[in-house]
């Protein structure tokens, strides 16, 4: 998807960029980026939602910042500069949450700090935000953030249901059906199974053509 998007003369539209983030280049299921935190937090749906929303915020804010300042960033040190931009936003959100939303912070504080090292965020800055004007960059950041949030919810539902027999903490079945899926190894199995499923969806969206994960050029992290 992104090949065609980036080579086009005019920047793509909002709808296309949003769909690209959620399906075509879904960070977890298609690009296979940031799998480690995706496995770590998705033992329950609620945890997945919290991390997903935090990533969504940081992705949009960092992408927009880079799009606005890209002319001023020296190309040789762009990666360290992106890292600092992400770190500033993450720390700012962390401090504001700790100061003004203590009960929310008690639940999400642990995850917010992790986001500095998220491969998906820095990869979108390098691949998209550093080459595109503000408006498309905003939609790309929003799409990627929503795609990550969507992926974490799907994995969370899958694992919480099978591992703990519950959805959002409400027991659906009395016992834990397959505790294995709540454990880290089970997380990778869940993602693998769901990734296969999303490959099928992507093939159907492309009219029967198989396509490799869209993120081949990003490096995996």
């Amino acid at each position: 998807m992104s090949q065609t998007i980036l080579l086009r003369e005019r920047p793509p539209g909002a709808r296309q960029l949003l769909m690209n983030g959620i399906f075509g280049e879904n960070p977890v299921f298609r690009l296979a980026l940031s799998l480690c935190p995706a496995v770590a937090v998705t033992t329950t749906v609620a945890n997945g939602i919290m991390l997903g929303v935090a990533v969504l915020l940081v992705q949009v804010l960092s992408s927009v910042t880079v799009a606005l300042t890209r002319k001023a960033i020296h190309p040789r040190v762009r990666i360290p500069v992106y890292t600092i931009i992400i770190a500033v936003w993450v720390s700012a959100i962390d401090m504001v949450l700790a100061g003004f939303f203590p009960s929310l912070y008690a639940q999400v504080g642990l995850y917010v700090k992790l986001i500095v090292a998220f491969a998906i965020i820095i990869s979108r800055l390098e691949v998209f935000a550093s080459r595109m004007p503000l408006i498309p960059t905003f939609w790309d950041g929003l799409g990627m953030g929503l795609g990550f949030l969507f992926a974490l919810i799907v994995i969370g539902v899958f694992r919480e249901l099978l591992g703990s027999g519950a959805i959002l903490g409400y027991a659906v079945v009395p016992e834990k059906p397959l505790l294995f899926f709540a454990l880290p190894a089970g997380g990778f199995f869940s993602i693998g199974l769901l990734m296969a499923f999303f490959n099928v969806i992507e093939r159907w969206r492309n009219g029967g053509k198989a396509s490799a994960g869209g993120g081949g050029g990003h490096g995996h992290g």
Binding site: T43, R76, V77, S91, F100, A106, G217
Partner: protein, 294 residues
């Protein structure tokens, strides 16, 4: 993706180096300035909400009103690890108090604390042993909360243990942990922590963990327990609670290590506190303190 070219940068002319340095330095300086400003703006609120959260946890554990008087005592180990220091910080209108004991229990010092910055500096190198909160009602202790730490599955678990004035466990509250969500993190739920409530001091040395499944009636009773005041819970489930009071703690399924870590920590914290209280209690509550409560 191979047809998207990475940003190609030609080899740097030697004169370009300073611009790279300047660019990085400027970025870091701007970032630091933004974060510094946000820190100054939010630090006070973060500290306030942390203190408020702890106060609320203490009064909930002991079933106190929000306004109840709570003495806070800080405990430290000296850097040489040869003496334990207890400090009751100075408050408005009442000087603080400092008690120092050697490890064998002999008292080395009993003095006042004025609350000066020098005193705060002097204690900075000391190793914190957690805090004690003593709830006062009409000049006598109405309950105690001791802060404890234990090594969990991944990182330390910090918790509060509350004891009623008649030395029964009034509650356990995990305030900081990094156990796995869905597994070890279950030790921070009220139904797991409810298992400790009501156990007598005499039974605490035998407090242990079992991997046996929790009986269904007891599980239902623990889940029905309200978060703070017990209400009619005791009348509905009192017999069940007394049946379980002498039994081990039922471990969270798949998280025996975390369950054991908290239970071992709770046991050690209570037994330590009981021993310390005999040393420090009478002195901390001497007339000077009682006048200050009026």
């Amino acid at each position: 993706m191979s047809d998207v070219k990475p940003t190609v940068v030609p080899a740097a002319p030697s004169g370009e180096l300073w611009r790279i340095v300047a660019s990085m330095t400027a970025t870091c300086a701007i970032g630091a300035a933004i974060l510094g400003a946000i820190y100054i703006g939010t630090e006070r609120y973060a500290e306030e909400s942390r203190v408020r959260g702890e106060r609320r946890a203490v009064s909930e554990l002991l079933g106190l009103d929000e306004g109840a008087r709570v003495l806070e005592v800080r405990q430290f180990l000296t850097p040489a690890r040869d003496a334990v220091v207890y400090q009751r910080p100075a408050e408005v209108g009442a000087p603080g108090r400092e008690l120092v004991f050697a490890l064998d229990g002999t008292m080395l010092r009993d003095g006042a604390l004025a609350g000066t910055p020098e005193e705060a500096d002097a204690i900075r190198e000391f190793h914190s042993l957690g805090r004690l909160f003593i709830a006062m009602r009409e000049g006598v202790p109405a309950g105690f909360v001791a802060e404890g730490e234990s090594r969990g599955y991944k990182n330390r678990i910090r918790f509060f243990v509350a004891m009623s004035a008649d030395w029964k466990i009034a509650g356990v509250r995990v305030v900081e942990h990094e156990e796995d969500p869905g597994l070890g993190a279950e030790i921070a739920t009220s139904w797991f922590q409810g298992q400790y409530v009501g156990r007598k001091l005499a039974a605490v040395p035998r407090l242990d963990v079992t991997r046996d499944p929790m009986p269904e009636d007891w599980r239902g009773a623990l889940r029905a327990r309200p978060g703070t005041a017990a209400g009619d819970w005791a009348s509905r489930f009192g017999t069940l609670a007394s049946r379980e009071a002498e039994k081990p703690i039922y471990a969270v399924t798949g998280a025996t290590i975390s369950s054991r870590a908290l239970t071992d920590g709770v046991r050690a914290t209570i037994l330590h506190f009981r021993r310390r209280w005999e040393l420090i209690g009478p002195r901390l509550l001497e007339p000077g303190t009682r006048e200050a409560t009026k």
